[in-house]
């Protein structure tokens, strides 16, 4: 029997279809011509043409973070592949499942310094979970299967598949493997039962417990289990930036975000706890502050699927390697059976202290007649909250103000660059979110600096009528860096005053809707207009330049040393 032969390009697309991929983001080029030809001849996968390869990867990440499925991006060799490095590093840091297909020069030319050649496997090695150079079309389907498996299991992350043009053109049969055989890769899903029991007992014995909920809770889809456990055990919950939405902000036991710009109450609770139950967090320096003085009295229980995250920064006395959803379910079952119950009296005392800390909040101070960014963000939040839109952000002051002022009751609603802190992430990520969301509107809260890093994507949004509403907090500065310069570098505003084009005209020239807002009474009408527009919008909020993000824990300080206003030193 003669089996049908397919080109490598066709095998790739067929494999993507087998993996359930319906949408990809990409940018064509010389060596991926055979792949783009195959794309042209099929209807299963929709390709979104971006305007820069970095945006393709960010868009795929936005897509993945909203949908929970792996995002896919396709780029060409050399410069195309090099442009993806920031996107890969971002996804690697934040544990987002991605598949990046990069074209490569003919396998016979590799190493010959061919046109548009780059050692992609070498360049991307340290910023992706794994990468492959496909040398033989016969390996292609297996490698794609493995790549998806690696990207979407364990601690999720990006996987790069580098495919030479001759492999795209070679013919082979298509037989998609059913199973993956990777001897060296077996993520641990089930937590050790004795460790889980030990952890539960320690929590029930503790007097001042707190849960730190991180991005891993979203990755494991464990927010319901977390909420149930925290509610049943009556433990206060703080979250990291990446853990936003894992525990409903509407509940009284939610203390909000902790860390450098976290709530006073959240930071104080963690600092004074006798037990920290850390779930799916890396204990990044942005949440621990000075490591030596971090929660000195606390015993630490740490659940993570990645053994590397445990005891890397904060030593865990009860480590549990496993899938969070599994571990929390086991813990809930154990709790149902045990007679060991938390001490109510102690709990009331602890909550009493916490409620006192809750009263202390940052004091905003207006320094000019211009709009306050915080007012703008509160208005945006109030106007859109019933829709529960996906909110993307860029990186900087606006990002922290969004995290502080928006309330999230569901995961996968705040899409932001946590670990790498990539300016220019939010806008393309919002495009990906739009695709995942079947074009429900998506907010992108941006700064005037960040938005200019991937502004070219306005064209992509216009082409596909993506309802991305860019809210630019335009304060004329790289605000977060300026804030540090004001406080720590004697107001030497070195290279942080930044000019911008007329965003309204710019939006119009792309064919998008541009609105300028300078007064408070214009905010709501602008949002109304934006929401009723069928396509991308840019709202340019002209804001006060010198507004600061508070609460603020200075770098190197312990997190209970929270500054609440400019007046504090």
């Amino acid at each position: 029997m003669n089996k049908v032969m397919y080109s490598g390009a066709e095998i790739l697309l067929k494999s993507l279809v087998k993996e359930g991929v319906e949408e990809v983001f990409g940018y064509p080029g010389g060596v991926v011509l055979p792949l783009y030809d195959a794309l042209y001849l099929q209807n299963d996968i929709k390709h979104y043409l971006v305007r820069h390869e970095q945006a393709a990867v960010h868009a795929a990440e936005g897509y993945a973070r909203v949908s929970g499925r792996a995002g896919v991006a396709i780029v060409t060799s050399g410069p195309g592949a090099c442009n993806t490095v920031t996107g890969l590093a971002n996804a690697y840091y934040d544990g987002t499942p991605l598949i990046l297909i990069t074209g490569q020069v003919n396998s016979k030319l590799i190493g010959a310094d061919a046109f548009q050649e780059a050692d992609v496997v070498g360049i991307t090695r340290s910023c992706c979970k794994h990468n492959y150079l496909v040398k033989d079309v016969r390996d292609l389907a297996r490698i794609i299967k493995e790549a998806f498996y690696i990207a979407t299991t364990g601690k999720k992350g990006p996987v790069v598949i580098d495919i030479p043009v001759d492999v795209f053109n070679s013919k082979y049969t298509f037989d998609y493997p059913k199973n993956v055989e990777l001897v060296g890769y077996n993520p641990t899903y089930k937590g050790h039962p004795l460790q889980i029991k030990k952890a539960l007992d320690a929590i029930l014995d503790s007097k001042r417990p707190v849960i730190i909920s991180g991005g891993g809770v979203i990755a494991s889809d464990a927010h319901r289990e977390l909420t149930e456990l925290a509610t049943r055990l009556n433990i206060p919950v703080v979250h990291t930036l990446m853990g936003t939405g894992t525990f409903p902000d509407s509940l009284e036991t939610s203390l909000g975000m902790m860390g450098m710009h976290g709530n006073y109450c959240a930071n104080l609770t963690v600092s004074n706890a006798d037990l920290i139950f850390a779930i799916g967090t890396r204990f990044s320096d942005r949440i621990t502050g000075c490591l030596k003085r971090f929660a000195r009295d606390a015993q630490v229980i740490h659940i993570d699927i990645d053994p590397c995250s445990i005891s890397k920064n904060v030593k865990a006395s009860i480590p549990i390697v496993g899938d969070i959803k599994n571990v929390l379910n086991t813990m809930l079952q154990l709790y149902s059976k045990t007679h060991h119950k938390p001490d109510l009296q102690q709990q009331n005392k602890w909550f009493g202290e916490i409620m006192e800390w809750k009263k202390k909040v940052a004091i905003a101070r207006k320094t000019s007649d211009k709009l306050s960014a915080i007012t703008v963000l509160n208005e945006i939040y109030n106007f859109t909250k019933d829709d529960e839109p996906v909110v993307c952000t860029e990186v900087g002051q606006h990002q922290m103000w969004t995290a502080q002022n928006f309330k999230f009751n569901q995961p996968r609603k705040l899409i932001t660059s946590g670990g790498l802190g990539t300016m220019g992430f939010g806008f393309p990520a919002a495009m990906g979110a739009c695709v995942a969301n079947k074009n429900k509107y998506v907010l992108n809260i941006a700064g005037d600096g960040s938005i200019q890093m991937n502004i070219q994507e306005l064209m992509t949004c216009v082409d596909y009528k993506f309802k991305v509403i860019n809210c630019i907090i335009n304060n004329g500065y790289l605000g977060m860096v300026r804030q540090w310069q004001e406080k720590i570098y004697n107001e030497h505003y070195s290279q942080t005053k930044i000019s911008s084009p007329d965003f309204v005209k710019l939006a119009q020239s792309y064919g998008a809707l541009g609105i300028r807002v300078e007064h408070e009474d214009e905010i709501v009408p602008a949002l109304k207009e934006a929401l009723s527009y069928n396509g991308p919008v840019v709202i340019d909020f002209i804001c006060e330049s010198f507004e600061m993000v508070y609460p603020w824990v200075l770098a190197g300080e312990p997190i209970d040393k929270v500054l609440l206003s400019r007046e504090e030193v």
Partner: protein, 179 residues
Amino acid sequence: MAINHTISVLVSNEVGVLSRIVDLFSGRGYNIESLTVAPTIDSIYSRVTIVTPGDDDVIEQICKQLNRLIPVIKVANLSIGEAIEYEIGLLKVSVNDENRAEFLNIVTQAGAKIMDLNEKIYTVKIDGDEKAVQTFAELVRPFGIKEFVRSGKVAITKAGQFQNFKKPKEENAINKLFS
């Protein structure tokens, strides 16, 4: 305290696996004191033996990070149990008529072996643990060492202990490390 640890890593014998390991060390600021790589009896696997300095926390992190690499099948810190460690030193030593007898005496005493010689230069091989090689080199230093080439370390656990070739199938293998 930062003492040398011997880490034995079983890897899939595939292109780029050594770069992944070396990149991990350089990217995270760890040091490699010595490194040996060779295929195992089953040539689809290779054994990498790395000697690296670090305190317990650092070594634990190195082992975890190594385990995270997809082609890495098993990581064992051989410094924890007792292991047989072995390395080879090749030395070219100047010898003359006056000190030849003394030199040959040291060679015999140390269990070194003459591999090549002419009137002025003896090439000798010394093997054993790190200390044996180091001591021998110190002993012959006064004669004049013209060249000294040293292998990295290879190591194996003692007769009663085994390092499984297959990663344990049991799901909680990693958790067991902690409990």
